[in-house]
Amino acid sequence: MNNSTAATLKPQLYEPGDGARRHPNDDNVAGSRPSLPGPTKLRALVVEDSDADLEFLVRALRKGGFEPDIDVVQSAADFADRVCKNRYEIVLADYGLPGWNGMETLEILRREGLDIPVVMVSGSMGEIKAVECIKQGAADYVLKDHLTRLPHAVRRAVADKQLRDEHRRSQEDLARSNRDLEQFAYVASHDLQEPLRMVATYTQLLAERYRGKLDENADKYIHYAVDGALRMQTLVHDLLAFSRVGSKGTALKLTDCNAVVEAALKNLHVAVQESGTQIIRSNLPSVLADSSQLTQVFQNLLGNAIKFRGAAPPVIRIRGELVAREWVFSIADNGIGIAPEQADIIFVIFKRLHTRTEYPGSGIGLAICKKIVEQHGGRIWVESEAGLGSTFKFTIPAGGEPEEIDFLE
């Protein structure tokens, strides 16, 4: 550390003879605890070569309710060294040091990956330079003849930084808990499958070898055991599929929904043919989406529309409308419908409204749709009356892609 240029100024402690440059008007050497509400401590790194300006700056901060604890540097090398070794709340940088452009502080912070707010303090800073500083990431700029504004600028810059930190922390927490959850479901699915497979295969072996050789009850019991094990396998398999939605980061690409619906219908062609389903669709837009996931959404919704059909052959209408910067997709059928009071629970994983003999399935399809749609920043819901068909709707935000804007116009 080079003490000749990197000086320490600590208003609370007087340490004579350490070679550090001391603020001449430092009258707060006693280190007494301030009484409430008291000044706010501020650990700051100041880029400044003028003693007089430094004094004005410290005074302005004190007047504004701060108790500044300041290090002063005058070169880029010292700045980089100090800023990496200490934890500063703020950097106050003179823009016009000879041989050193204050803008470099921003570059150094960026290079070192440090998020410390920078307030530019300058005697004469043109508007253009000021704007450039803000563009480069400075929190604010204050002119030296308006230093009364400095405490406010500092306070706001520090508060913004705290908000940024909190936001980042909660983002990290969320990401971690999502990761944990997905890992849990994944591991549980694998480890559950192993013993389950054993139960399923061996009860099946029992059924095969001993059917009719024990009494009637035994056959029935074995059937229940086999059925239970197979159903459990389906649940575990579905849980795994559910946990996989979003376990890998989705790469959103501009996706033509006409092609997506085409792919979904291709996967469903047997059901479409057997049920005599009629599909009526309007031209659909392109949206920013993971196309395989979006295909899954359409496939599940169309599959349900066919599965929960009424006496008449299914007629399904697919539309996409732009409403307030969102694409609202709707899939309307003429099937058995859903009572309004049940409209919400159908999206919950493994929730079913019918017995397995009425309609097969584990109740995973809509839960997966909901997870996918929400990961795309949209919502999903149903509008329906029992016996009057259902209209499932979901939204995908209309992105800022130029192709999409063309489409809008």
Partner: protein, 148 residues
């Protein structure tokens, strides 16, 4: 494949799966002789004819589970495929896992094929039968080289 009885080594900690596989193999036309061990350490001892495995036969096919206590299938696979006296033996990974990472890693390490254990009896029987037919009936392997 020669006229002599084919040798299969199954490495699996699930006695239930060994039992079932053995039943199915006993009904194939190839009627292989099945040896089984329950973890990776045992498998290596068997293949290197150590200790109680001094007289162990050289397998024509190894059916290897991935997740086992002590030494897992990945380590066993690595040892087999990096040993010139063993590397020629086809190794079929036979496991419950269908994680992409397990599949990719197995092929990286030189697995000859990766099969997931089916969850129900009919599929299990069909798959083991198919595996025996393919590897013991149709595949031509290099001529066996005995180590010196």
């Amino acid at each position: 494949m020669s006229d002599s009885q084919a040798e299969v080594l199954m490495v699996d900690d699930s006695l239930a799966d060994i039992e079932l596989t053995s039943e199915v193999l006993g009904k194939t036309r190839w009627l292989p002789h099945l040896s089984s061990v329950n973890d990776g350490e045992e498998a290596i001892s068997f293949l290197r004819r150590r200790g109680k495995y001094a007289a162990a036969p050289r397998p024509d096919l190894i059916v290897l589970d991935l997740n086992m206590p002590r030494k897992d299938g990945r380590s066993v696979l690595t040892e087999i495929k990096t040993d010139p006296t063993l590397a020629w033996i086809p190794v079929v990974i036979f496991t419950t896992s269908h994680a992409n990472s397990d599949i990719n890693r197995s092929y990286e390490l030189g697995a000859n094929c990766y099969l997931r254990k089916p969850g129900n009896l009919a599929d299990f029987v069909a798959l083991v039968d198919l595996m025996a037919n393919f590897w013991l009936g149709f595949v031509s392997l290099p001529f066996q080289r005995e180590e010196h």
